[in-house]
């Protein structure tokens, strides 16, 4: 069936460097994508979202890039901080509105080295 997956299960970066977390999706009909951050012992938290009619969206220190041609999503974190250490999930939603079954990726663990 359709699935969302991640290229790298674990990513280690030096504090202050930029981090890039990647996600591949297989449902070309997906209309909406979300990145979630899950810290140890907590539930996933919304970070940033992007619609399929956009290529890029920026938040505070985070940027999401969407390449529909190759069905690829990435999350860029600028000046990575120890507090960014967590598991990051991409989530794929077919269409906005109505019942939408969200497909979550397997997650990438980001380790920030002080």
């Amino acid at each position: 069936g359709e699935s969302v997956g991640l290229h790298l299960p674990t990513l280690s970066v030096q504090e202050g460097d930029n981090s890039i977390i990647n996600c591949a999706y297989s449902n070309s009909a997906s209309d909406y994508f979300i990145w979630y951050k899950q810290e140890s012992g907590k539930g996933p938290q919304f970070i940033i979202d992007i619609r399929s009619n956009m290529d890029k969206r920026q938040g505070q220190r985070v940027t999401v890039l969407l390449n529909k041609t190759v069905k690829h999503l990435s999350l860029q974190i600028a000046a990575t901080q120890p507090g960014d250490s967590a598991v990051y999930f991409c989530a794929e939603i077919p269409l906005l509105g109505g019942y939408q079954k969200v497909t979550f990726g397997t997650g990438t663990k980001l380790q920030v080295i002080p």
Partner: protein
Amino acid sequence: DARVTQTPRHKVTEMGQEVTMRCQPILGHNTVFWYRQTMMQGLELLAYFRNRAPLDDSGMPKDRFSAEMPDATLATLKIQPSEPRDSAVYFCASGLVSDGAVRVSKNIQYFGAGTRLSVL
């Protein structure tokens, strides 16, 4: 600060016992989700409610699991009888989606802190 509240945070029980997990969604949200998270399977959707009606429970083992929303402020997930393979973290999430009464341009789920279940 609105949040999804789950109780209990931790539950240790013996095989065969009934387990009830509770969730208070964010006030005003019209959708509630139950997920199970394990190292092997990641986040799995168990059940989905919209306006308190169950719309999708295809991910839930029907013989032992049941999910209900007695009212708009409470969602429950029950396992009876519990088995060791049910050990996992169970998350509840709520959100707001477009329906006849409301129109939204986003589809964000807000997660609770989870219930960590250990079945011995």
